[in-house]
Symmetry: C2
Subunit: 517 residues, 2 copies
């Protein structure tokens, strides 16, 4: 798809531009077209793809410019470059640049538009007309929008939608890497039902939310000990505490702001802490026994963000803007300090799909080689745990990376992530490996954890550099305690007598502290 | 303050009431006034304080009733009692009761209204006129509102406001129980500043929120180990996992819905999970780089509740509606599974006052004696920890109970909690003990944890009973990890070499895994 940018703008000076300045303007326009606009453009790019001032006009205090470009030194970039050139030149005539006006800005995109393509409703668009293979988009732009690169983002987004209409329905990527083969199972029932019946868990009062009793939590702590002893300690990970309320600032940098909206639990703040402002809300409850949701709605701001969704983005402000010393790499940390929340499809479902869940999140960063190396060692460690300790029937597969899925994308990382050539050795390793366990009661497979190599995505988003200058990469791995429980109990049942020896030994004697009449 | 209820209502039958039925009605009215309305009224209550049908009328299919009462068998209760009596009696005349209409309902409250008293804006009120010592309140009531006991709640609330206007400005209760006396301090600086400087913590991107690095988390885990070894294990507490998103249903039963609104982080849910519904929100971000908060606001429901504020209410649905066997009491559990959130006053402040914090919450329930007994043992255990292990300069005091403070009340529990006489032995023990540590850098005292005996409040709110029939009580104790850190580090400094031996030993070698250029 080819693209052309068309910009008519005016530079407003503090006084009328004298006739004798015309020659200077003409000279500067020539210089800009000939050299300034070519800076940074690769050799061999055709003339008409590079920004160019096609015409100018002087009327009173305004210098009018007609700028056209293809994808190189785009019309709006050309405008800002030219502004820097012309302002001092006209200073000689005692003219000061006061302001800029964008008279019109339109983009032409040319390509074979697929059958199903319809122009999306997007901000800034005055009109969008398609005629044959050409889409002409008129924009309402102010200088600040151009400086903020709005046209570039718009073009990228339209291209993205164009591609999704062309290659739409592209399947989730899924490619088997390893399968444990069949294992003996000790259970053919739904473990959630069994846990409820035996008092291990009880549904809480919000959707997809459970209260875990002593037996269930003891199993979680058993898993946690296995992870600490077999994975965290030998691989040298150190505990940190990542925040659990995620403000927009984090999701803007992590990329989640692109598409995570349907599944977020949003967080809003009171407009004020003044108790008087809230008195009648409390009074309403005291009188009716009901909480006046509509009254509250009018008194809250935001949303300011949402509850923890992916666990690792909140780590990154700790290193944001920093250059990390070579000798402390690879950095290896983990967090197990709170809940994650996803607005899942409705109804009460088992502990394998919940709205509120608990996860140990492992995170590492370093050079590309270091990052890939740790992912490999982590995979080996998990393998030992699943094979020799939990004795699960499991498999793992390369899938669409979680960071793409959470931005609403399909395909593989190689479709979207570009890294410098120095990391070429590892570039095809960027992506997510899902670990799945068989649920004998349903015959289906449950994704119970993953390992991801995220390439340069987060270091880039949060401006993290490495002392040596080589690109910084990162990886993460989420261990879902509900998912581990669901997988393990579905295959082994709730009776520790039937569990693999090591697990049963750590678990110890089951405790029943509640007895109801 | 005395109160009178005045109700004019009509019972609507399916056909005209025949003249021969009048004698039956008269007989039933007499019977109701003489016996039915006196059931449950203590002996010696004056005649005119008990509900009474003062007059009735028959017009077509409607039986009109004029009912008056003082505080006993209130007019609306009398109406429902009479309905049950009259319906079968008129069945003999082939009359079926179809409906009820509330023609008018007003309440008279008489008392010495204080200077500052103004009638609060409350729901259901048509008019409220005060003349001298009498407040006459006309209500818009439907039968369902009367059945839902709205008038009783209104009267209680007005009395509460009357009292608060009378005794307003009643001080927070604070009564010293114990003081450790002066201890040698190793630090006179603000520990937050020191932690930032030494890379232990870094402010996160939401207000009052920190990311904790390895050194800080190691101290938390040191505290956690001390609590587990010295308190949790010897006193026999077992770990559970309480939910961290709190829906209104929980706060309605816990009482928080009465007044916690100014400090809540509210949670809202997407109107739908349909990705198409959210597509233009993501597009807006992709084009502008900004999250369109107003667009999102229109697409979310709720708030459905808020983030965990007090940690123990979310436990109670686990036992809600149950009768607990004698032999498993006292039940002793704890939770350390996630964050609590409070909308604190603005600005960046130290780790002693944060919006997002971490707490181990200890909870127990049983008979009044058991509950008080555990609180006492817990206090002794804390005392040993603060004196012999942390070696803190600390004190503790009886304060306004947290469950009252969080409902916007002052005073002591004895002002509000009433329990049966069987618990008289323990009644004066209901309340909260705060533990405070000296912050040498400011000379002020920081509340760093508490122990509370909550009486029958939560078992009552969540309908929990004990097999023996004796009243169920509960207690709780919150250990704030940020507050423990702030107290300990403010007194001992950040260098483990200066820490009490036992703490330093568990903490071990400090780890610095980050080094920035």
């Amino acid at each position: 798809m080819s693209v052309r940018f068309n910009l008519d703008a005016g530079l407003l000076f503090n006084a009328d531009i004298p006739a004798e300045a015309a020659a200077t303007v003409e000279k500067m326009v020539g210089e800009a077209n000939k050299t300034l606009f070519r800076k940074g453009v690769p050799a061999g790019v055709p003339e008409d793809e590079i920004g160019r001032i096609e015409d100018f006009s002087i009327a009173g205090s305004v210098l009018g410019l007609r700028i056209r470009s293809g994808p190189y030194t785009r019309a709006h970039d050309a405008l800002f470059r030219f502004r820097k050139l012309i302002a001092p030149s006209l200073g000689k005539f005692r003219l000061g640049l006061r302001d800029m006006e964008i008279r019109s800005f339109w983009i032409e995109m040319r390509g074979e538009f697929p059958e199903g393509f319809r122009m999306p409703k997007l901000p800034f668009i005055l009109s969008a007309d398609r005629s044959g293979d050409t889409l002409k988009i008129s924009l309402r732009m102010e200088a600040a929008d151009l400086e903020n690169k709005v046209p570039d983002r718009l073009v990228r987004l339209i291209e993205e939608k164009f591609q999704s209409a062309t290659y739409g329905g592209k399947a989730e990527h899924w490619e088997l890497i390893f399968s444990s083969g069949p294992k003996r199972t000790m259970n053919d029932s739904d473990p959630t039902e069994q846990m409820i019946k035996q008092g291990w868990i009880r549904h809480a009062l919000s959707r997809g939310q459970w209260i875990h009793g002593p037996q269930s939590v003891r199993l979680w702590r058993t898993f946690e000990k296995i992870v600490l002893d077999e994975i965290i300690a030998p691989l040298g990970f150190t505990e940190m505490v990542f925040p659990k309320l995620t403000p927009w600032e984090v999701w803007k940098k992590s990329g989640h702001a692109k598409g995570v909206y349907p599944e977020i639990y949003y967080v809003c703040t009171p407009k004020t802490r003044d108790p008087e402002y809230w008195e009648d809300v409390g009074d309403y409850f005291k009188v009716t026994g009901e909480v006046p949701v509509d009254m509250i709605r009018e008194r809250i701001d935001g949303p300011i963000g949402g509850l923890c969704y992916a666990q690792c983005p909140s780590f990154w402000p700790f290193v944001q803007g920093e250059t990390i010393a070579n000798d402390c790499l690879p950095i290896r940390v983990f967090d197990r300090s709170g809940t994650s929340h996803r607005y899942e499809s409705g109804g009460i479902h088992g502990i394998e799909r919940v709205d509120e869940f608990h996860r140990m999140e492992i995170l590492w960063l370093g050079t590309a080689e270091q990052t890939v190396g740790i992912a490999d060692r982590l995979h080996e460690a998990y393998m030992r745990v699943f094979e020799n300790i939990l004795e699960l029937e499991w498999r793992c597969a390369r899938v669409t990376p979680w960071f793409m899925a959470q931005e609403g994308m399909v395909g593989t990382a190689q479709d979207t992530i570009t890294t410098p050539s120095e990391t070429a050795c590892c570039a095809d390793r960027v992506g997510t490996t899902d670990y799945e366990a068989l649920l004998p009661y349903s015959g289906s497979w449950l994704e119970f954890q993953n390992v991801s190599i995220n390439g340069n995505k987060y270091p880039k988003g949060f401006s993290v550099k490495i002392q040596s200058g080589t690109e910084c990469w990162s990886g993460c791995s989420g261990i879902g305690l509900e998912r581990w429980s669901a997988s393990f109990l579905a295959q082994k049942g709730l009776d520790p007598a039937n569990w693999p020896e090591k697990v049963a030994k750590i678990y110890g004697e089951p405790e029943e502290i509640f007895r109801f009449m």
